[in-house]
Symmetry: C2
Subunit: 168 residues, 2 copies
């Protein structure tokens, strides 16, 4: 995380973009695009993230019954959601794809300011297990559809029954 931050601060944007776009020879194009997108998302690099959305892009949180269409609204939503986020990454247990569809099963890990969760002045860490599915536009390197199926109950169990998870 710290390494990525240093990388972000020390590289000119063009060089970073070139680095991220360049796929390793073994990685299928769909997987590479999905990973680049997930890196931009979890790094909360909104200027980079903006390049993956267009007016028709749809972000859906299926278990929360929430769906947002278009770059502008998606970015505004993500900025709001991550107001208190200090670190954020996704660890994939199982990733597969077919054509332009990618499925990632794993955990989102958060370190966040505890204010909203009843731990003011503290940081809390928790995992949010679930599935993220992407429908890609490979030609234009865009995300047509991003659907999350997230296990909020498991996240809430960590927040309520394990206050020891909080980090001062």
């Amino acid at each position: 995380m710290r390494f990525l931050l240093i990388l972000l601060l020390s590289l000119p944007l063009g060089a970073l973009a070139a680095e991220e776009v360049d796929p390793s020879p073994q990685t299928p194009e769909a997987i590479q695009l999905a990973q680049d997108y997930m890196a931009a998302l979890t790094n909360r690099n909104y200027s980079q993230l903006a390049q993956y959305y267009d007016r028709e892009s749809v972000l859906t949180d299926r278990m929360a019954g929430k769906s947002i269409t278009g770059r502008r609204d998606i970015l505004a939503f993500l900025r709001r959601v991550h107001t208190y986020t200090q670190e954020y990454y996704f660890n994939s247990d199982h990733l597969f794809y077919k054509g332009s569809r990618v499925v990632m099963i794993g955990n989102y890990y958060y370190k966040a300011r505890g204010d909203l969760f009843g731990y003011p002045g503290q940081s809390i860490t928790f995992a949010l297990p679930g599935v993220t599915t992407l429908k890609l536009d490979l030609e234009n390197r865009r995300i047509e559809e991003h659907i999350d199926f997230l296990d909020y109950a498991t996240m809430e169990d960590q927040l309520s029954s394990h206050p020891s998870l909080s980090v001062p």
Copy 2:
């Protein structure tokens, strides 16, 4: 599997239906319905399965780009798909729900006649990892939407590179 078969053969249908409908006190209604449905599906008990669908029910295999609407067409499709299936069950690694939506992450296990896969006269066994999501009509105990995200590449790897998996 054998136990279930004996159960199916030895119980009158009414008793079986009552048994399946009765939820254990700890199991949330949505999970119970999902499990009953998955049992009917993997037991290929089509008369029982018919009760979970109506004209609006949708079965989607997202990675295959296939979607079928309505009880009649869904049942015809499932019967065709399982022509060569000898055993079939789902093992859930992680199951969660919110309201009427259930997400099941795990593996489908198959034992099938090898004819279609280049092993005539043999049985083959393989696992198909993936995610099944259900949108339930809890009041009427119906499946409004069943969407699969299945890792066919992993299944195909087993069929092509591990012929030792085949059972005479």
